[in-house]
């Protein structure tokens, strides 16, 4: 550390931290001192590509298996994440739909869960800003309110997409995505390989290729290998951040602290610091995803462009959410779902169906005997979600009746969706959550807890764009 005291200390360098910093740095004076503590290291995309090609990279030592970073009490449920510079921007698949306005008002509209203390209109300008910063590709005309064009044009529709869009209009759209449809801002055009965790052509937005200018800012000091595990709190004010680096103990002093690690580590830090809020760590989870293969009679499903080529909202919104969950359709364009019958190789479509889940009290994150490692307890899915699967199976054949469907084949639910949501939920009432509408801890008023951990309810939509917009919003409102 270069300084004995900082104006802001940020934990993590993923989406939540980086978008928060982007806004913060645009608003504060040039003499501010910011310390960023990153658990992992910088592992460049070019080096990750080498490893994928079977070549040696000196950076491979920085690969940190997620299984070793947490104690996962239910090994059937997986929680993949990436630590290191850029966090999960290194491994995400680039899906960036906005939430629907109803996602923020689940209690008042459907009597489910709680309403968020922010709504769609609050986030709307920050959605635009995040979409611009990520150079999102997307269509004009969306099921959520949005005016004008996305920064990049939409990806190409397949023939199946065209039929469904013609039938359902704005309920079936080219997916808004951070996989570039055109070369832009140092990123290449998506080459449709559907291998997006480490994009072969660097078309996907990552913090490394983002050009946000955050970590190059002279006000920012970035320390790698700093494993933050607790905070020093006096009279409900956070004074210091406690971390280990190369096995040694360190403390950093700051005016304001922002936890931007994932919900597992944010919770671990809070609980180790003595946070007694009964909801801290409680009610985390993610959507449930399952695949349906749609065998087509006499139709090649060709012409599509990218991993998730389209989103279908036909099972998403409506009065049914009083009884069962919303479902977002992700229309995949994956090469591995080809058929083997002669002449029918490409006569297939594959949809991944994402069902929202509820923040259940029995799914929780807590500390372990090792102060650096959180313990993760995920025990159940809600009946609200499972009922939505039953409904989907009844209604999907009708929805797809505009296609020449030969048969549908449902695959088993996936063990993970790559989204870790909840654990430090937002609320207006301190009794109902951990942080307020600006992601400031209800008790520790100089502490932000960023990221999807703050989501009051889960939505069926992918969380990254919304958590990035929330970071912009929180920093804009607070500074």
């Amino acid at each position: 550390m270069k300084n004995s005291h900082y104006d802001l200390i940020v934990v993590g360098t993923g989406f939540a931290s980086s978008f928060f910093l982007k806004k913060y740095l645009s608003k504060v004076k040039s003499d501010q001192k910011v310390l960023v503590l990153e658990r992992g290291h910088f592992y460049p995309h070019a080096e990750r590509l080498k490893v994928k090609k079977g070549e040696h990279s000196d950076f491979q030592k920085y690969e940190a298996p997620w299984e070793e970073a947490i104690v996962n009490m239910n090994t059937k449920k997986r929680w993949p994440f990436t630590t290191g510079y850029g966090g999960c921007s290194n491994c995400w698949w680039g899906c960036t739909p906005r939430f629907m306005p109803s996602d923020f008002k689940m209690k008042s509209l459907f009597g489910i869960g709680e309403d968020w203390p922010v709504d769609y209109d609050d986030l709307d300008p920050y959605y635009y800003e995040a979409e611009e910063l990520m150079s999102i590709s997307g269509p004009e005309g969306t099921p959520f309110p949005r005016k004008g064009k996305y920064p990049l044009p939409p990806h190409e529709f397949s023939i199946v997409d065209k039929i469904l869009h013609k039938t359902y209009g704005n309920q079936y759209i080219s997916q808004p995505t951070a996989r570039a449809s055109r070369a832009a801002n140092g990123r290449n055009r998506c080459m449709t390989s559907s291998t997006c965790d480490i994009c072969p052509v660097n078309a996907k937005f990552t913090l490394e290729n983002a050009n946000l200018g955050v970590y190059e800012d002279k006000r920012v000091e970035l320390v790698y290998g700093a494993q933050v595990y607790s905070l020093e709190v006096q009279n409900d004010v956070v004074n210091k951040v406690l971390y280990q680096l190369d096995g040694k103990e360190y403390q950093a002093s700051g005016e304001v602290v922002a936890l931007g690690a994932n919900p597992f580590f944010n919770t671990n830090i809070l609980l180790n610091a003595g946070d007694k809020n009964p909801l801290t760590g409680r009610g985390f989870g993610e959507q449930l995803g399952m695949q349906v293969l749609i065998y087509l009679d006499g139709m090649k499903n060709v012409g599509g462009s990218t991993w998730v080529n389209a989103n279908g909202y036909m099972l998403y919104d409506g009065a049914h959410r009083k009884d069962f969950a919303a479902c977002l359709m992700e229309v995949n364009n994956a090469p591995y779902y080809i058929r083997m019958e002669r002449g029918k190789w490409l006569n297939i479509a594959s949809f991944r169906l994402l069902f929202e889940d509820l923040p259940l009290y029995n799914n929780y994150i807590t500390t372990s005997a090792n102060k650096l490692i959180p313990e993760v307890h995920f025990t159940e899915r809600s009946s609200y979600t499972m009922k939505a699967i039953d409904n989907m199976k009844k209604t999907l054949p009708g929805i797809l009746s505009c296609l020449p469907v030969e048969k549908l084949k449902y695959l088993e639910p996936f063990p993970n969706e790559g989204h870790i949501i909840g654990g430090t939920r937002m609320s207006k009432d301190p009794k109902l959550g951990v942080v307020d509408q600006h992601l400031i801890h209800h008790q520790y008023r100089n502490l932000f807890v960023l990221g999807a951990g703050g989501f009051t309810t889960f939505s069926a939509s992918n969380p990254t764009l919304t958590l990035s917009a929330l970071s912009l919003y929180a920093a804009d409102q607070a500074f």
């Binding site: 994928k52 090609k53 065209k162 072969p200 462009s305 364009n333 090469p335 080809i338 083997m340 190789w345």
Partner: protein, 143 residues
């Protein structure tokens, strides 16, 4: 007993069978059976001579070349199994198609099918077979 039920009981469908040792020791090289399975599945295609053997060499070199996997290939061949019976066969022949120029030629059965490198988005030149790169918008038209 129906064949499907037999396969399930013996574990071949899921890949957990005990195979008679004689079947292993009296048989020719294991990769040959994988190649025979591919040629049998694609008997209606014009496979370039040597392409399948080259592919199988690369496929096994890339992984899965342990003794139990090898034994299964022989057994599956002798039991006249196809891709509907076994995920292993499905994976083998699917990867062969993806590793060839079959999709580049838009599934044209009249053309010779050549192996052009084990399918790998990071190394091989084979595009996503569903992609607009092979079927541009003006070609697929409007519904």
């Amino acid at each position: 007993m129906k064949r499907r039920k037999f396969l399930l009981l013996t574990g071949l469908a899921s890949g957990s069978i005990l195979i008679p040792p004689t079947l292993y020791f009296v048989s020719p090289g294991v990769k040959q059976f994988a190649a025979l399975l591919i040629e049998r599945e694609f008997k209606y295609l014009k496979l370039e001579p040597g392409s399948v053997a080259h592919y199988v060499d690369d496929y096994f070199a890339a992984g899965g070349n342990h003794i139990m996997t090898n034994l299964r290939w022989k057994t599956m061949y002798y039991l006249n199994m196809n891709w509907e019976d076994s995920n292993l066969i499905f994976e083998l022949i699917r990867t062969f198609l993806l590793s060839s120029d079959f999709f580049i030629h838009k599934t044209d059965e009249t053309r010779i099918v050549r192996y052009i490198g084990l399918y790998n988005p990071y190394k091989s030149p084979v595009p996503n077979p569903f992609s607009y790169l092979l079927y541009p918008p003006d070609e697929i038209g409007e519904p």
